[in-house]
């Protein structure tokens, strides 16, 4: 069975290669081929899953060694895969949700002339993401890590003729690269510390080195995770990334790629467990992002950006949980999977809405859509209930566990983290209700598009609706399934698990969670359900305005990095031209000036030359005489 692991990656990779190199001949069948290969990968994943379930919990990890990648003295990097329970979870999520979104895209991208290439990119993404989660060493993980970055770049900028899309793609790649510095330094640190960077040996001997080194490695891994998972301070790209086609937002920027940071931290659990300081920073980052994303999500009128803020916030939950150590790893992954379902569903719903509304994204121009798009409304609604943690739905189970674990951290930290998670839950309920109300309820606020066509909201084609329905099912049932089929036991051999002991009872936490949810929903209803929503956004409070601008982080980046960088490069270009080159040119000019003066001696008159010859002879005689005299 091990040999099938390569097939997991190989199928979508083949699809990408064929679709991208195949040319226009494949235009008509390309999307089917892409979808088929994603489905093949999913099928292989299921087969491997079935095989894995048949084994003992401890023996479930599978390895496949393909070949030595970079064989250099003292440096072994292999193309080798490791499929354990953690990877398996991701494989199923990636290929499953990935396949659904492929199907969805068939309808969504129907009118795009470059649909073949879109599927090529999607396949490329799936392959890279699988490589990321299947790698058995950090360098190969880095390969996948950058691969998904590339796919994300290509897909965000898929509509390249829009300057905003091209800029957003570039921004995403660059911010991710900053995070990549972290990953590469972490790998280098591992290499100098352990002499290798394969998961097995590094994690097994993590305890043998100093805590300081491990903290450094941990913080660098966190930096990488921040970049990929859009955590503060590297979160700024995610909102802009919504320029990409909606299926991309659903797959990459909600369900899978952005959660790679969580995977990285959970995968490196042994390192973090031995470095409590790093763990603390992880939780702080998670907590800050959780609130940051939630606040941003409250202020955005663009439906996708509101959802992007929500994604950021939900990943904040996961990171926070991952930072809690063995009491949180499992729940981080569990929330990751449930979030993958409901957020993908929400994005697909949003895409469906946009599909029917002439690609309008401003929620203030929606309203009353539930009658026109009943299926979208229902699936979106179920996703909504899941994310706010409506009891019994998937989000409820996973989020509740994280909040409980946060309290279980213990001490003041535990209280603070618990409070933050609860606050986050309230805000989540608030902004998601706002989205729901502005989109599907209230009166119509539709506007003609740029060409003057009034929108004709309609239900999307089957290829789009079916994936939405399936994801809605997952959003509803996922949590319960995990809760009652032993997700904890499933992951425990990989991540380890301890029961957290919260200072308050689990029932109290659950009650509090439900209570803050109700408060959040109620507040949103008061603001958006009872009163009509203005088409033009009101000026809003200082916080609202700041949140609309991503809490000014973009402005900060622009002022410091973009403007400063532009000035720096401009001045360096000047310096290079005047100073570095100038020194050389100055030397040349002075030599030239001297020669110009010397040239006057060469006046072309034989007699002048004769004088110099004669003088030279005299000097030679003088020198000879002097030498003899001495």
């Amino acid at each position: 069975m091990e040999n099938l692991i390569a097939l997991l990656i190989g199928a979508p990779l083949l699809g990408a290669a064929v679709l991208l190199c195949g040319g226009r001949r494949l235009d008509r069948a390309g999307h089917w081929l892409g979808t088929l290969l994603a489905a093949v990968s999913f099928a292989v994943g299921l087969a491997l899953f079935a095989d894995m379930l048949g084994k003992d919990a401890e023996d479930r990890a599978m390895h496949q060694h393909l070949f030595s990648w970079i064989p250099v003295e003292g440096f072994q990097a292999d193309i080798a895969f490791q499929l354990d329970q953690l990877s398996m979870t991701f494989v199923l999520l990636i290929t499953g949700v990935g396949t659904l979104i492929h199907v969805y895209s068939i309808g969504y991208m129907e009118h795009d002339e470059r649909r073949r290439r879109f599927f090529g990119y999607l396949n490329l993404f799936v392959a890279a993401m699988l490589l990321l989660v299947l790698a058995d060493n950090y360098l190969l993980l880095y390969f996948g890590w950058e691969g998904v970055g590339l796919a994300s770049y290509l897909l965000i900028g898929f509509w390249q003729h829009k300057p905003s899309a091209a800029t957003a793609a570039k921004k995403a790649f660059l911010v991710n690269r900053v995070g990549d510095i972290g990953l590469s330094i972490a790998i280098m640190l591992m290499f100098t510390t352990f002499g290798t960077f394969a998961f097995g040996p590094v994690l097994a001997s993590a305890g043998e080195t100093s805590e300081g080194k491990l903290t450094a490695i941990g913080l660098m891994l966190l930096l990488a995770a921040c970049g990929k998972s859009a955590q503060v301070p590297l979160q700024s790209w995610l909102g802009d990334a919504m320029e990409g086609p909606t299926p991309v937002s659903a797959l990459i920027h909600a369900a899978t790629m952005v959660t790679a940071g969580v995977y990285l931290i959970v995968r490196s659990a042994d390192i973090f467990d031995a470095a409590p300081d790093a763990q603390l920073v992880v939780t702080i980052v998670g907590a800050v992002t959780l609130l940051f994303g939630a606040i941003v999500g409250c202020a955005k009128d663009d439906i996708k950006k509101a959802l992007a803020g929500s994604t950021m916030s939900q990943i904040g939950y996961m990171i926070l949980a991952a930072g809690l150590g063995p009491i949180g790893y499992v729940f981080a992954i569990m929330h990751l999977v449930t979030h993958g379902f409901f957020k993908a569903g929400l994005f697909l719903g949003a895409g469906s809405v946009m599909h029917g509304m002439n690609d309008e994204v401003d929620m203030r121009k929606y309203g009353g859509l539930r009658k026109y798009m009943p299926l979208t409304f229902v699936t979106f609604g179920l996703g909504y209930l899941a994310i706010i943690g409506f009891p019994g739905l998937s989000g409820f189970f996973s989020k509740d566990k994280i909040i409980e674990a946060a309290f279980a951290k213990g001490g003041t930290e535990g209280w603070i983290l618990g409070a933050v998670t609860l606050l986050g839950a309230a805000i989540t309920a608030y902004y998601m209700t706002r989205v729901m109300l502005m989109t599907f309820f209230g009166e119509k606020r539709w506007q003609d598009d740029a060409d003057g066509n009034p929108p004709h909201p309609h239900e999307s084609p089957k290829s789009m609706v079916i994936p939405m329905v399936l994801l809605a099912v997952g959003s509803v049932a996922g949590g319960a399934v995990f809760e009652f089929t032993g997700f904890v036991e499933w992951l425990e051999p990989v991540t380890g698990f301890e029961h957290g002991h919260a200072p308050i009872s689990a029932a109290a936490v659950t009650a509090a969670t439900v209570a803050v949810m109700v408060i959040g929903v109620g507040l949103a209803y008061l603001q958006y359900g009872r009163r009509p929503v203005p088409v033009v956004a009101p000026r809003g409070s200082l916080l609202t305005r700041a949140a609309r601008r991503d809490l000014l982080q973009d402005d900060f980046n622009h002022a410091v990095f973009v403007t400063g960088g532009t000035h720096l490069t401009r001045s360096l270009v000047y310096v290079d031209h005047t100073l570095v080159d100038g020194v050389v040119n100055g030397t040349a000019a002075s030599v030239g000036g001297l020669s110009g003066r010397l040239r006057k001696l060469q006046n072309g008159y034989v007699r002048s030359y004769a004088v110099s010859m004669f003088g030279g002879t005299a000097v030679l005689i003088a020198a000879t005489l002097l030498m003899r005299a001495v």
Partner: protein, 99 residues
């Protein structure tokens, strides 16, 4: 009298000839000055010959004369052909080496 005086005389004549080469523009006169320098050398050779008591110095002076004759023939031919084309025998007129 010390025969070294001949050497002083040779040196003086040589210097006069050299200065003449430098200050005259007429190519023929320049040539004459060159001849003067050669003759000064010859005088020195002959004096050295006497000083050392062998005839090699005279031989060299003899060869110098032959070479001088050859040189004069070619040099004057050049002057004549230059004069033919430029109607001038001034060495300053031939300043094409100047950029």
């Amino acid at each position: 009298m010390n025969p070294v005086n001949y050497l002083y005389l040779a040196a003086l004549l040589f210097t006069i000839g050299a200065v003449g080469v430098l200050i005259r523009r007429n190519a023929i006169v320049v040539f004459m000055c060159v001849e003067l320098m050669l003759n000064a050398c010859n005088l020195a050779f002959v004096t050295f010959s006497r000083m050392h008591g062998n005839l090699d110095g005279q031989i060299i002076a003899f060869f110098t004369m032959v070479v001088a004759a050859a040189e004069v023939v070619v040099g004057l031919a050049i002057i004549v052909s230059v004069f033919r084309s430029r109607h001038s025998a001034s060495v300053d007129d031939a300043s094409l080496m100047k950029l």
